[in-house]
């Protein structure tokens, strides 16, 4: 196979963004990892958004590779967000008992960019604490809001919250 499988990494709104749309052969994976870490080093980027919405299947081997790549990025001070996992991939990964602990995800690149923006002001943090720690049903200005941090309405809950081992639908 040729080098057409190169995954480009661009800078966008202060983050590095890489979109994976080709098959993850060993060579492509290694080249992608090298390229990403090189770009983090070169730009000093503090966040990287990896978009896998172009993949219809992501197996454990590929997933583990992404996770270890993210660990490498974090050692370089760069936070990684995985976006674009389709429902089939998510179901399969959970049934395969993939290690999703601590993995940051979002629905799309746009959602991730939004989540990475700093909170609007300090009072938003106070609301955030109320939403997380208040007892259920307590009257609050945000009583109808779901219990996600106020400044991250689109960031998916941390994977690892819903770990049920049975894998039944």
């Amino acid at each position: 196979m040729s080098d057409h499988g190169r995954i480009a990494v661009h800078e966008f709104e202060g983050s590095l963004v890489g979109s994976i749309q080709v098959e993850l052969s060993e060579r492509v994976m290694r080249a992608f990892r090298e390229n990403l870490l090189e770009e983090i080093h070169r730009t000093g980027a503090e966040s990287a958004i990896i978009d896998v919405s172009g993949l219809s299947v992501l197996d454990l081997h590929e997933f583990d590779f992404l996770r270890s790549t993210f660990r490498m990025a974090s050692i370089m001070g760069c936070r990684s967000i995985l976006v674009g996992l389709n429902p089939g991939i998510v179901a399969a990964l959970i049934q395969l008992d993939a290690d999703v602990e601590g993995l940051e995800t979002a629905l799309s690149v746009e959602h991730a960019i939004h989540a990475l923006r700093p909170p609007p002001d300090a009072s938003a943090e106070a609301d955030d604490e109320d939403v997380e720690h208040g007892p259920p049903g307590e009257a609050d200005e945000d009583s109808d809001a779901p219990a996600t941090p106020a400044e991250h309405p689109f960031l998916a809950p941390r994977s690892g919250d819903d770990r049920s081992g049975d894998g039944n639908e």
Binding site: V57, L60, L96
Partner: protein
């Protein structure tokens, strides 16, 4: 009743990708929804990678069942590799946490409806899984 069979020889990375694509295509043709097709394809990927990792080469055989009562897909993963010394241990979830050492077989079993394995040291491994519509 018609059964369509596809055999894919697994000797490298590219073959894994081909088997995965074939599995997705066949699953969709049989009538599985996107989520199930993905799961079937993921199971194929896991089994094919096992073949590469432990036996260097083997076969993935995909069979589509289109019967009146039953429609579904069967995946067989066959190799003449070293075989598994303790199949029960490999099937227990203890192996799924130390995943780098394990075969991911409990996971494959969870992805599918039926699961059979036949493996002896020195005689290779044959895994057969099925998923029904």
């Amino acid at each position: 009743m018609s059964n369509r069979e596809h055999r894919i020889r697994i000797t490298g990375d590219t073959d894994v990708a081909i088997a995965v694509m074939q599995a997705r295509q066949q699953s969709t043709q049989i009538g599985f929804d996107a989520s199930c097709s993905c799961r079937i394809a993921t199971a194929v990927s896991e089994l094919a990678r096992n073949i590469l990792k432990y036996a260097d080469e083997g076969d993935i055989v995909l069979t589509a069942y289109a019967g009146q009562a039953h429609s579904g897909i069967e995946i067989r993963a066959e190799d003449r590799g070293p075989g598994i010394a303790d199949v029960e241990l490999a099937l227990s979830d203890r192996f799924s946490t130390g995943r780098t050492l394990g075969l991911g077989l409990p996971g494959v079993r969870r992805l599918m409806d039926e699961f059979d394995i036949n493996s002896q040291p020195g005689e290779g491994t044959r895994v057969r899984v099925r998923k029904w519509l």
